[in-house]
Amino acid sequence: MIRIFNLTFLVFLFLVTKANSLIEIDITRGNLDPLPIAVSPLFQNDVSKKNSISELKIENVGSEISSVVENNLKTSGLFNPLSKEAFLQKPDIAHLKPRFEDWALIKAQALITGKVTIENKKLKVEFRLWDILAGREMMALAFTTVPSNWRRVGHIISDKVYERLTGEKGYFDTRIIYVSEEGPKTARVKKLAIMDQDGFNTKYLTLGNELVLTPRFNPTSQMVTYLSYFKNLPRVYLLDIETGTQEVVGDFPGMTFAPRFSPDGKKIIMSFAKDGNSDIYTMDLENRIVERITNHPSIDTSPSYSPDNRFITFNSDRSGYQQIYVMKSDGSNVKRISFGKGLYGTPVWSPRGDLIAFTKLHKGKFYIGVMRTDGSGERLLTENYYQEAPSWSPNGRVLIFYRETKSNDKGEGFSAKLWSIDLTGYNERQVQTETDASDPSWSSLLSN
């Protein structure tokens, strides 16, 4: 069923791109030949420049926004933004009507132009995407917002360009919630932190007084569920990011952990440990009813719903070792799906529904991989000394996870960092964070 859907989807994309333009990007394969694109600085007139300085303390917010776009497109691995030094046409003139021969000369296949005005405490941005080879406009859009939102405007432009050229939603206007880490390994201080997908605008949501772990967004990205050791009682909590309100989830006589929202946002699914046995439970956020989903003397943890809420994948050692299982969301029809060599953990269902990402431990190495939901087609994307906990980009094309380095015998040389990799296994990159970082969770697309 899913496979047929994919196939028709690809054909559809192919036809659309053929019909509308010469530019096409296939994101289903590793892209070793990224599309050359020219991102012209967004034009800003002198009045607007003055307002930009008074409002934002930035001289030219137009070029700053274009840098955000350029950086996003570059890190996607699908685009190769060309050096601005080679540009022959001025931004304002190019935005009216590009001289396509000039841009073709520097081998650009696509061009982004635009214009920014700041007036009456409003930021107005318009941009156009041009197909250089076909010699015509592909898209034109305008936004108005408060000036302080200028980075988000850059992310939204990036998403529009990505979507127009790949046929799939982007993932740039998103945030990452993660655990910030500081201090020695034996006394690590951990705080919840949130930042834009490109590492900017970091905010700390807890002070570091208690241990916090595994934050995850709800589908609207306004709430977070996580594990806190507040008062030395490890329990699952719910946090409203805007208001800062926190509450403990349910009233369990023991540790609750490994929380995640259901894709409809109505439930939290988590593990509850009692007398040495961890099972999976859900709590309905509206009526607070707690339901037991698994009942087995082994460890059952790391649950994750399928996007249609009908199935749950989870981690269990009921076979003797950590393996990945899938069951119906009422707990029936439990099936083991991981059968390769080694141990498997942290299964997480793709937002597209077709794949499950996981961590695998085999012969002292850790891998991030994906498999189909029936366990077939296992693909390992990256191997390292230690890495785990993949989280999907909202379009299901990129995974973010954390990686730790080995310490020497004195405990020196340890670090924890966030990394991302494409589903294709290409384009592995470190994601910048202010401190050491772990347990990343990717938000939904904020502008939709």
């Binding site: 540790m255 593990s271 981690n315 431990l361 015998d409 340890f414």
Partner: protein, 162 residues
Amino acid sequence: MNFSKSFRNTFLVILLSLIVSACATKKTTTKVEGQMQGDVYTGTDTVKYLAEGVPDRVFFATNESILTTKSRDTLRKQANWLRENSSINVVVEGHADERGTREYNLALGERRANAAKDYLITYGISADRISVISYGKERPVDSGSNPLSWSKNRRSVTVKAN
């Protein structure tokens, strides 16, 4: 002919280097041997004492929560001490090493702490005097990334609660 000869030579070189490296590994294991049995820590480096002769912690094999003979011995000493000090309550902390996924290790730490708790209960200590908490891999005592360090971190520790 030439090929098979050179092949045999390479083979010999490989064989020799294997013997040499085998000697080398043997040496390091003997060095660690005093402190590990299988992969369970048997040393005393990190051990603290609840009272004279009553160690506070027991150690586990990778991914296991089974109590070794030595662990059971330690826990019987703890049970005796708890019987003599009936006003004292304890928290059993369960821990895992850094070579496992965070969430599974939280569950594993809880399983280890409960293995120790259950043993104390069988030796007559009332369940309401013992609480458990799992720290998973969050609170290692040894920050090294080697088998000996990991073995010290796979532990349950009995701590006075009052």
